[in-house]
């Protein structure tokens, strides 16, 4: 004890805490994961239990192209965020618009798939358990993509108005966490719906 007392008072360590945006986003992602878990469980539980109507193996085709688009949008948004951190506004705009384009391709692809299923294969949400769980799970994911795309669109508009600066780096990064989450969920939905469920 005496040696401690004799030593000069140690400098107080700097008081830093995690960024509230990141913590908030991680909490939201935890809650969303729970929601998706319930829908995925329902999907798995009802695989092969439809008593009538089109079965997955008859009507579903692997959406390879749009999946590649969505998953690569995770890379482009990451590059966009990194460019903004380095104050390369031109590169940020390029990668950001590319993210918007890739996400939109995915959404259009899902829409085309649904159109095909509803009007050509006669599969609706009320047709059978496959329709119920398929449209709910894929639709829930598509809803999250839509919300993400709206946010990306708003940032795109601000980018074109030259309003996005380096100081917005953290906010954009926090949003990119959400977008990565949406992509991870798609890889799970893809596995469950198009591989396991078929």
């Amino acid at each position: 004890m005496s040696s401690v007392a004799a030593a000069p008072a140690p400098l107080k360590p700097e008081w830093t805490l995690p960024s509230r945006g990141r913590v908030g986003m991680f909490c939201l992602i935890a809650a969303e994961s729970a929601v998706f878990t319930i829908f995925v469980i329902a999907y798995i539980f009802y695989i092969g239990k439809s008593s009538s109507g089109p079965q997955p193996k008859d009507v579903l085709e692997l959406p390879i192209f749009i999946s590649i688009c969505l998953l690569s949008s995770s890379i482009t948004i990451h590059l966009a965020v990194r460019a903004l951190g380095k104050a390369q506004l031109g590169a940020f705009a390029l990668w950001w618009v590319l993210t918007l384009a890739l996400g939109s391709i995915f959404l259009v692809g899902t829409g085309r798939e649904w159109y095909h299923l509803i009007y050509e294969k006669g599969l609706k949400i009320s047709t059978n358990l496959f329709g119920t769980t398929y449209y709910s799970l894929v639709g829930l994911h598509a809803f999250h993509v839509t919300v993400g795309l709206l946010a990306i669109l708003i940032v795109t508009i601000f980018t074109l108005m030259k309003k996005v600066k380096t100081e917005h780096h953290e906010k954009v990064e926090v949003f990119s966490l959400y977008w990565h989450f949406v992509d991870v969920v798609w890889s799970i939905v893809f596995t469950v719906v198009y591989i396991v469920g078929r």
């Binding site: 908030g24 935890a30 809650a31 929601v35 009802y46 239990k49 009320s126 449209y135």
Partner: protein, 557 residues
């Protein structure tokens, strides 16, 4: 309460017209005002749901009673349960958390003040939507008005075929919306506690109230979300003709049970952990000792958080699960008694050898200790699946969970009301009236819920609207109903005490209890900015360090 808080917040209440003052409350993002809004809103629904409980008890007071029709009786127990859980217990605990957490961790507001306001108004809207069903629930077929499917709304009772009209739609939408509000609050709690603590307040020096609300908020994220998901599925079933819970098309009614109880059981711990938090703050102050075994308390809280996620199917023993399912859920349900028991020993350890002051908050906490123990013991009985098969769906179960919700949660809530009332209003309550409230409520509580176990053991099922005389249930039901009225009188005294004290109570001063946490270092009620300078703490009891510079806590921690 309204005018008082505004006045002290420097708004010069007398000068402003009432419209402007109300506008201030509606548009506020201040965590203290939102906390009070949550609490006042919940008290309003507490009275309504209490009236519903009274209607249920009057109907069951004597056999073959005709006080209400069977249909109304179904609506009453559904609305009583739904209201008490979703629009009384959760918002009132969120209200205390919203009010206290920033003050206790030395912050000026929550991490996301506008999200905080949004969460409150979503919850408020959910409650109003539920009660709008009395007016708007008639639907096209003129069938039903308020929801009557029970608070856990088992499928297929909720399907269009068995629940015509819109009453069940109001139920599911109200819970969906308030669930989103709860998730917002939980996000806010966690972000506030993780990122807004004042300098020096490491996680190990945080008040236990903040710790327990942190665990609660984590559980809300993981447990309320499944309910939200299940409500979306139910909406799809009812509006779009989906078949999630439609047994005719191969859907599963049991799946709804799983989804509901995977929310429903953690929910009990979401409600009880904030109550533990109140007890963990109040018992040390009134025993004049620091909390016994702080790290163990934190560890036990986290353990409860984890284990409570794996006990849900003990609500479903009677549906005929495989034997390993029964065994698993019996064991987990019994294991959760271990961390809970640790907590009870720690509270007793805190009181042991202390200079106990029996003011109203402490009285309610002591009663809580006894009653929570008994509630836990009947809980262990019901966790044993063979015993559960005999008594599930009986009044024994009703008595058990009311022992938890009233005997533990409501008692600590009353303790919290009396303990923090001086801080929130700036005035002291009447101790005499509070003692009357306490003793009448204890007597009423035990009359009602002790004796409610007996008709359950004798085989009286829950949710029946009347019963035959001569089954040995009559006298017990009469006693239970008499107890309800004693409790009602006690709550009336409580309300009178609060209303009288808000306007006429003695000024309380900053720190009437000689307490140790940061909220007592600022004025009562606190200014808009909470602290003129952000405090720095060095131990778990920062105010003790201030008051006793010769013997501060940080020397020993």
């Amino acid at each position: 309460m309204a005018s008082d808080t505004i006045a002290i917040n420097g708004f010069a209440a007398g000068d402003k017209p009432i419209g402007e003052r109300l506008h201030g409350w509606v548009t506020t993002v201040d965590h203290k005002r939102l906390g009070i809004l949550y609490i006042v809103y919940s008290l309003f629904f507490l009275v309504i749901a209490g009236i519903e409980a009274t209607i249920i008890r009057i109907q069951l007071m004597v056999p073959h009673n005709h006080f209400v029709s069977p249909e109304v009786f179904n609506r009453m127990f559904t609305m009583h349960g739904t209201t008490m859980i979703f629009f009384v217990a959760m918002p009132i605990l969120f209200g205390f958390g919203t009010y206290l957490i920033p003050l206790m961790i030395g912050a000026r507001d929550m991490a996301f003040p506008r999200l905080n306001a949004l969460s409150f108004w979503l919850t408020a809207f959910g409650g109003l939507l539920l009660y709008f069903s009395f007016v708007g629930g008639n639907g096209l077929y003129g069938a039903g008005n308020a929801p009557d499917v029970g608070w856990f709304a088992y499928a297929p009772l909720t399907s269009r075929a068995f629940s015509v009209g819109h009453s069940t739609d109001f139920w599911t939408l109200a819970l969906l919306i308030s669930g989103i509000g709860s998730i917002g609050t939980a996000v806010n709690f966690i972000a506030t506690i993780i990122t807004m603590r004042c300098p020096g307040m490491t996680l190990g020096k945080m008040p236990l109230l903040a710790w327990m609300n942190l665990v609660t908020a984590g559980m809300v994220l993981l447990a309320v979300s499944p309910l939200t998901a299940a409500q979306v599925m139910l909406c799809f079933d009812r509006y779009l003709g989906a078949h999630f819970f439609d047994t005719q098309a191969g859907g599963s009614a049991v799946l709804w049970m799983h989804f509901f109880w995977i929310f429903g059981h953690p929910e009990v711990y979401i409600l009880i952990l904030p109550s533990f938090a109140f007890a963990s703050e109040i018992i040390p102050v009134f025993s004049r000792k620091p909390i016994f075994g702080y790290p163990v308390m934190v560890a036990a809280t986290v353990m409860i958080g984890f284990i409570s996620m794996s006990v849900w199917a003990h609500h479903m023993f009677s549906i005929g699960m495989p034997s390993y399912g029964n065994t698993f859920f019996t064991i987990t349900s019994m294991v959760i008694a271990v961390p809970t028991g640790i907590k009870i020993f720690n509270w007793i350890g805190t009181m042991w050898g202390g200079k106990i002051r029996f003011n109203a908050p402490m009285l309610f906490c002591v009663a809580f200790l006894f009653q929570f123990l008994i509630a836990g013991l009947t809980g262990i009985m019901l966790a044993a699946s063979p015993f559960n098969w005999q008594l599930t769906g009986s009044y024994f179960v009703v008595a058990h969970f009311h022992y938890v919700i009233v005997g533990a949660i409501l008692f600590t809530l009353f303790a919290a009301f009396y303990y923090w009332f001086p801080k929130m209003s700036g005035r002291m309550y009447s101790e005499t009236l509070a003692k009357w409230h306490f003793w009448l409520f204890v007597i009423g509580f035990h009359l009602t819920f002790d004796f409610m176990h007996i008709p359950g053991l004798l085989g009286m099922p829950r949710r029946i609207y009347t019963y035959e005389p001569g089954r040995g249930w009559d006298i017990w039901n009469l006693i239970v109903t008499i107890g309800t009225f004693v409790q009602g009188i006690a709550v009336l005294i409580f309300v009178v005490n609060l209303l009288w004290s808000v306007f006429k109570g003695e000024p309380a001063g900053n720190d009437p209890w000689d307490a140790w946490t940061l909220e007592w270092s600022t004025t009562s009620p606190p200014p808009d900015y909470n602290f003129a300078t952000i405090p720095t703490v060095e131990s778990r009891r920062p105010l003790w360090d201030l008051k006793h510079p010769e013997d501060p806590d940080w020397k020993y921690e």
